[in-house]
C-alpha cells in the first residue's frame, strides 16, 4: 500500500511519536544529562562528567546492586514459573475444592504489595512470627529472615514468588485449557505415561505461555520496590537494595540526583540488553513474542 503523500505516514504516527518523545525519550535525555551533573535539586547543578558513574563503580556498589537485582529476578522468575506451573497442573480439575484452591492461590496476587509485605514482616519475625514458631517446633535453628544479610534477599524474593505465583498459575491454567483434549487422548492411545504426555505434548504447547509468564515475572521482579520499601528498606547492610530502590534511595533519601540518574541510565541499558536478548531468543525459535 502506498501513501497518497509522503507525509501521511508521519502524520498518522505523529500523536504516538509525540507522546513517546514527551514522556519517554525527553525524560531519558534529561536523566542522561543529570547523570553527568552533581545536583541536589536546590543548588545549581555542577557538571562533573562521569564522576557519578565512577563513584558508583568505586567499591563495586554498582555491580553489587546489579548482581542482587539479577539474583532476585532469577529466584522470582524461576520460583513463580515452577510453582505456577506445578499448581496449574495440580488444580486443573473440576470440582468446588479445586475451584476454592485456585481462588485462594490467586487471591494473593490481587492483594496490594504493601499488605503482603506487612503480613510477611509479621509472619517472619524471628522471635514471635509464625514461621519462627514452626522452625522452633521442628528443631530448626533461629533464622533472622529479614535481619540476616545472608537470608534477607532470598526471603524477600520468596515473598515476591508467593505473591505472583497465583498469577502464573492462572496464566498456565489458561494455557493448559487451550491445549486440545484430542492431543492428550492421542498420546494416551499411543501408550504415553503421564510424564511423557507432559514432556512431549503439554510442555511444547505451553511454551508461548511460559515465555509470557517469564517476561511478565521478569518485569515485576525488576520493578520490585514496595516489597523492599516495606520489609527491609534496602537493608540489612544493603542486602536487599535492588535497582529501583537504589535509585529511590539516592534521589529521595541521599539528595543525590546525579547518582540516581546514573543508576537509572545503567538500569535502562541493562533492561534494553535483556529485551534484546529476549527478542533474539524468540526470533531464533521462529516464534512471535507472546
Amino acid at each position: 500500500m502506498r501513501p497518497r503523500a509522503p507525509a501521511h505516514p508521519w502524520l498518522m504516527l505523529a500523536p504516538t511519536l509525540l507522546a513517546f518523545g514527551l514522556f519517554v525519550f525527553l525524560p531519558l535525555a534529561l536523566t542522561a544529562r543529570a547523570s553527568l551533573q552533581s545536583w541536589d535539586m536546590l543548588t545549581e547543578p555542577e557538571w562533573v562528567g562521569a564522576a557519578n558513574y565512577g563513584a558508583l563503580m568505586e567499591g563495586g556498589e554498582l555491580w553489587r546492586v546489579l548482581g542482587r537485582t539479577l539474583g532476585f529476578s532469577v529466584i522470582v522468575v524461576v520460583g513463580a514459573m515452577s510453582f505456577g506451573l506445578g499448581l496449574a497442573v495440580l488444580v486443573d480439575r473440576p470440582g468446588r475444592v479445586f475451584a476454592f484452591v485456585r481462588g485462594s492461590v490467586f487471591s494473593a496476587y490481587v492483594v496490594s504489595w504493601v499488605a503482603v509485605a506487612l503480613l510477611w514482616v509479621w509472619l517472619l519475625d524471628p522471635d514471635a512470627g509464625a514461621v519462627a514458631a514452626i522452625f522452633r517446633a521442628v528443631g530448626l535453628p533461629r533464622v533472622g529472615f529479614l535481619t540476616d544479610p545472608r537470608a534477607a534477599l532470598v526471603t524477600v524474593a520468596c515473598v515476591a514468588v508467593w505473591k505472583i505465583t497465583g498469577y502464573a498459575m492462572i496464566v498456565f491454567l489458561a494455557g493448559l485449557r487451550a491445549i486440545p483434549a484430542s492431543l492428550r487422548e492421542a498420546a494416551a492411545l499411543d501408550g504415553a505415561s503421564g510424564w511423557q504426555t507432559f514432556r512431549h505434548v503439554v510442555w511444547p504447547m505451553l511454551r508461548p505461555t511460559a515465555a509470557f509468564v517469564a517476561t511478565t515475572s521478569l518485569i515485576t521482579s525488576f520493578q520490585a520496590f514496595d516489597v523492599v520499601r516495606i520489609m527491609t528498606q534496602g537493608g540489612p547492610a544493603r542486602a536487599t537494595t535492588l535497582f529501583v530502590y537504589a535509585i529511590y534511595e539516592q534521589i529521595f533519601l541521599n539528595l543525590s540526583v546525579g547518582k540516581a540518574s546514573a543508576l537509572a541510565v545503567v538500569f535502562f541499558v541493562v533492561l534494553s540488553l535483556l529485551a534484546a536478548l529476549q527478542l533474539r531468543a524468540w526470533r531464533s525459535r521462529g516464534g512471535e513474542p507472546a
Binding site: 541536589d40 535539586m41 536546590l42 543548588t43 563513584a55 544479610p149 527491609t232 544493603r238
Partner: protein
C-alpha cells in the same frame, strides 16, 4: 496573566484568613499535641489558618519539602532534622528568622536551639526554632532489673554484663538498639571521639568510631546478647519499642520522645537512665527544628513567625513536653516544670533533662546529612551485621566523605 493567576496559590482562604501551610512529620502523641497547639493558635490569631499536613516520616517529608522547593511550591513552615539544617541554609532555601519580631530574643535552651546544638550556631543567622527536641535515652525494664538485682548500667562494660545477665536465649534479648547513625554518634562521643574535627574534616571518630562499632559487633556476634532490630530508620525504632514493651528486650536505647508512650504502655516499671560512658558520657541531640521557607509568600512567612512565637510560649512548650517526652525547649518552660514539681514526680523526665549536660553539638557542615545517609549508615550496617572490619569500612567512608558530592 490568566495562567499566572491560575497557578499562583491562594494566600487567603474564603474567609480572608491567611493560609499558613505547615508540613509536619509528627504522628501519635506529638501530632495530637501539635494539633492542640494549632487549635489554641487559631483562638489567639483568628486571622491565620494553619493548614497542618502530615508528610510521612522525617526523611520522606524532607524529600517532599526539597521537591516542593525545587518546584516553587514549598509550604511556608516545616521542620527538619538538625543534620539537614546546614545543607538547607547553604542552598538558600531557608528564611533567616532573626529579623522577625520576637524570634531573635526567644529564651531557648541553648543545647536544643541552633545556638548550642551546632558548633558556632550562635554566630550564624537564625534559621531554625526548635520544635520537638530529644536525645537518645536508655530505657530499662524495671521489673527485670529488680529481679536480677541490677541498677541501670553506667559504663559500656556494665551494659555488656547486664545484657548478658538479662538475656534468655530464644525469648529475651538483654539489649536492643537500632544500628543507626544517631546512636553510633553517641557512642563515638562516649569513646572520646568526634565525627568531625575542629577544621570540619569528617574524621568519623577515628579510633572511637571503630571502637563503637566493635562494641556492637561484640554484643551481637560474640556475646549474643543484643538484637539488631530489622528494618531501617523509624521502622527499626518501632520494632525496638515493641520488643521492649512486649518484654523481648530488657534494655533499649531510643529517643526521649518515646518516654511517655513507653511509660503508658509498659506493663512493668520503665526505668530511664543516661546512656552509659566509655571514657565519658555523650549524646547528640535529635528531633527536629522549625524552618521557614524563603520561597513562601511574605504574608505566609509573617504568619509563620507569629506561629513560632506562639509555639515558644511556656504553655505550648510544656504541653508538648509533658505529653510526649520531648525536652522542653525554653528555659521558662523548664523553670515552670521544675517549679510545679513535674520533674520531681516524673523521675524519667528528670533524667532526660539532666542528660542535656552531656550534649555534644553537631558541626555546622552542609555535607553532614549526606555523610549520615549515604556514607555512614550503610557502612555501619555492613560492619555490624556482617561483622566486617570496622576500621577498613570507616577508612572507606572517610575517603567517600572527602569526595565532592
Amino acid at each position: 496573566m490568566l495562567g499566572e493567576a491560575g497557578c499562583r496559590r491562594a494566600e487567603r482562604d474564603s474567609q480572608g484568613r491567611v493560609r499558613l501551610r505547615l508540613w509536619h512529620s509528627l504522628g501519635g502523641r506529638p501530632r495530637a499535641a501539635l494539633l492542640e497547639i494549632v487549635r489554641r493558635f487559631h483562638e489567639r490569631e483568628p486571622g491565620v489558618r494553619v493548614e497542618a499536613v502530615y508528610q510521612g516520616d522525617y526523611f520522606e517529608a524532607l524529600a517532599k519539602l526539597r521537591t516542593a522547593v525545587a518546584a516553587g511550591a514549598a509550604p511556608a513552615l516545616s521542620h527538619v532534622v538538625a543534620e539537614v539544617l546546614p545543607y538547607l541554609a547553604r542552598a538558600n532555601a531557608l528564611e533567616p528568622l532573626g529579623g522577625y519580631d520576637g524570634l531573635g530574643e526567644l529564651d531557648l535552651v541553648p543545647a536544643l536551639a541552633q545556638s548550642g546544638a551546632f558548633r558556632g550556631g550562635a554566630e550564624r543567622p537564625l534559621y531554625a526554632v526548635p520544635l520537638n527536641r530529644s536525645t537518645p535515652l536508655m530505657y530499662c525494664n524495671g521489673a527485670l532489673l529488680r529481679e536480677a538485682g541490677l541498677a541501670p548500667p553506667e559504663t559500656w562494660d556494665e551494659l555488656a554484663s547486664h545484657a548478658k545477665a538479662l538475656t534468655r536465649s530464644g525469648s529475651r534479648w538483654g539489649f536492643e538498639v537500632p544500628i543507626a547513625w544517631w546512636f553510633w554518634v553517641a557512642m563515638v562521643g562516649q569513646a572520646g571521639g568526634a565525627v568531625f574535627d575542629a577544621e570540619g574534616r569528617a574524621t568519623l571518630g577515628g579510633d572511637a568510631g571503630a571502637e563503637a562499632i566493635a562494641f556492637w559487633q561484640r554484643l551481637i556476634h560474640r556475646d549474643r546478647v543484643m538484637r539488631p532490630p530489622p528494618g531501617r530508620d523509624y521502622d527499626a525504632w518501632n520494632v525496638t519499642n515493641q520488643d521492649f514493651l512486649s518484654g523481648r528486650a530488657a534494655m533499649i536505647w531510643t529517643s526521649t520522645a518515646f518516654l511517655r508512650y513507653l511509660e503508658d504502655n509498659a506493663k512493668f516499671p520503665v526505668v530511664a537512665a543516661p546512656l552509659p560512658a566509655k571514657v565519658k558520657r555523650s549524646v547528640p541531640t535529635g528531633g527536629t527544628l522549625f524552618v521557614v521557607m524563603r520561597a513562601a509568600p511574605a504574608i505566609e512567612r509573617e504568619a509563620a513567625a507569629k506561629f513560632l512565637r506562639f509555639f515558644c510560649e511556656t504553655d505550648q512548650v510544656t504541653l508538648l513536653s509533658q505529653r510526649t517526652g520531648y525536652l522542653p525547649i525554653t528555659r521558662a518552660a523548664v523553670a515552670r516544670m521544675e517549679g510545679e514539681g513535674f520533674f520531681a514526680s516524673h523521675a524519667n523526665d528528670a533524667i532526660a533533662q539532666r542528660q542535656l549536660a552531656d550534649v555534644e553539638p553537631w558541626p555546622w557542615e552542609p555535607k553532614l546529612f549526606r555523610i549520615q545517609r549515604d556514607i555512614v549508615n550503610p557502612r555501619l550496617e555492613q560492619a555490624v551485621l556482617l561483622d566486617r572490619d570496622a576500621r577498613g569500612l570507616l577508612d572507606e567512608a572517610r575517603r567517600a566523605a572527602a569526595r565532592p558530592s
